[in-house]
Symmetry: C2
Subunit: 322 residues, 2 copies
């Protein structure tokens, strides 16, 4: 299980290897939102998303023999890049199992970090089965994207930074909106805030139609999404909440939120114009909720989780919404 | 005159009001450059450029009576926004004199900060004369974009941060490439580095054909550019080096560099893909030199100075170069 001790230990292993990301804001963005919006810019993290934290945490926590045999991960892209970078820096072999419809930029970047990429069909193949077989055949350690205690601990270091940064920004009582796939980041942040910033409460944000976490939190049990694809927010289209992450969020998170694809794209355009950061749609849903959701208080924190977006989609988004 | 004491005093006035910007890097960008590139991301500064520093420094240094009468600035946009934000936060009236061909986003944002915008024709009108008359008529204090000791001191706070950040990054001996219009930022940084990081040397970077600073440094006297417009790097098309800035750079800077418009746009696209920051072309020339200039050492620092770019130009740039 992940607890604050594990998160603190991960922070020590990560120190100097991943980036402390800034908490950004913009007066003109606040005016659009009608509230004060503080944005934790994890798109500025190494590899372009918070996943570099969990990847580093998991790879650095392995015993040397396992690390020398290598690691395998399956991911729509950002987890892949995080694990690939961490493996390369630890001189560990790395296999990445990726859906064949992942954005080309993510596949290319993962290969650039030195990983071997194996593609599978998200609609017809079972990634868990493929991953397990590859792991067994080659003696690789499988690093799951969210149901892994060390990955959750690594993502939780975002929460440690937020505890300090929100205190400096006089925003110690606010919801922390977190883009949510399987819930690893949200769970890690929630555990860190419980220990270090009890006035901050995690609220998960998902794409409409893929709000398995929000529905699961409301129902008190893990529910699945009806579809596997169909949103532009590809980074966070996981089938259901994680086994390890759901109990944490059930205990610590507020009700989940959901935004439309168009709201996510508008948030991408507004982050471009007012924060000068590059977000992918799935990394912008928390900002979209901060900008457009009703019934939020006067100060909100949004974690902008990733910026690995195909240039053509980004250009189209600017043409439509900027 | 600006000296390290004035820069240190400006840093104290700016503390908590402008942002300490991160020093970014990306393994895949280093591979493209063939060297280690550290990017000081001033596009993440409030108002989207380093000019928020100089604006805050100058407005906060005024005596209360002058501040209550108000300030005036002339600028292609970024200085305008910096002064406008600082004036608004100090509750000082603010008039901005802008060329009528400035990007629409800069005009709109400046107005959003509460400033009164007066437009003039860059080709046929003399902004200095118009500015002086407005200042006299209304009792406004003119805040020049670079030939102002307090503005240079404010920009110099970038150098104070770089001294600390480069030491942490084990990059204490390197050229610091700085996008250069009139030279206020380059001069301020050079003075700060002289005092706190003597292993770092400023090198100015300008658009080809508008390299008045490089030619002036080589000639030992202030020279003019042959044309006033004709580069996509609108933010840094100043006619000649500043009176106050040139002697500082003559004493402290290395030879000036120049890059093509296409190199600047390529740097915009690469910063999008690998750093997930938004740069305007004029804010990307230092990064362009870091990526493409021959004869630079294995580690270079590039100051990415601004990110206020029209969405259509950004989209076109991605289509061409990403």
């Amino acid at each position: 299980m992940t607890d604050i001790g594990r998160i603190t230990a991960a922070a020590q292993r990560l120190s100097g290897h991943v980036r402390v990301t800034p908490l950004l804001n913009a007066p003109l963005l606040d005016r659009i939102a009608g509230r004060r919006v503080l944005v934790k810019a994890e798109c500025l993290q190494l590899t372009g998303s918070f996943k570099a934290r969990g990847g580093w945490s998991a790879v650095s926590a392995l015993d040397p023999q396992a690390r020398a045999r290598g690691v395998i991960a399956y991911s729509s892209g950002n987890h892949a890049q995080g694990v690939a970078l961490a493996a390369a820096r630890h001189e560990a072999p790395c296999v990445i199992l990726m859906p064949s419809d992942a954005p080309a930029v993510k596949v290319a970047n993962t290969r650039s970090y030195g990983a071997e990429v194996v593609l599978y069909d998200r609609q017809t193949e079972d990634r868990d089965a493929i991953g397990a077989k590859l792991a067994e055949d080659r003696g690789l350690t499988l690093i799951k994207p969210f149901d892994n205690a060390e990955v959750i601990a690594g993502q939780g270091t975002v929460g440690l930074e937020l505890a300090t940064q929100t205190a400096e920004a006089m925003a110690a009582n606010a919801p922390v909106l977190v883009c949510c796939g399987g819930g690893g980041l949200a769970a890690g942040i929630a555990l860190a805030l419980e220990a270090h910033a009890p006035g901050l409460t995690v609220r998960t944000v998902e794409p409409l139609g893929f709000d398995d976490m929000a529905r699961s939190l409301a129902a008190g049990k893990r529910l699945k999404n009806p579809a596997a694809t169909g949103s532009v927010c590809d980074a966070i289209l996981t089938p259901s909440p994680g086994e390890l992450t759901f109990p944490v969020l059930q205990r610590l998170a507020g009700p989940g939120l959901a935004v439309s694809d168009d709201q996510a794209l508008q948030a991408v355009a507004l982050a471009f114009a007012h924060l000068r950061i590059v977000l992918e749609p799935g990394g912008a849903v928390a900002l979209a909720a901060a900008l457009f959701a009703p019934d939020l208080p006067g100060t909100v924190i949004a974690v902008a989780t990733g910026g690995n977006v195909d240039p053509a989609l980004f250009a189209t988004t600017l043409e439509r919404f900027a």
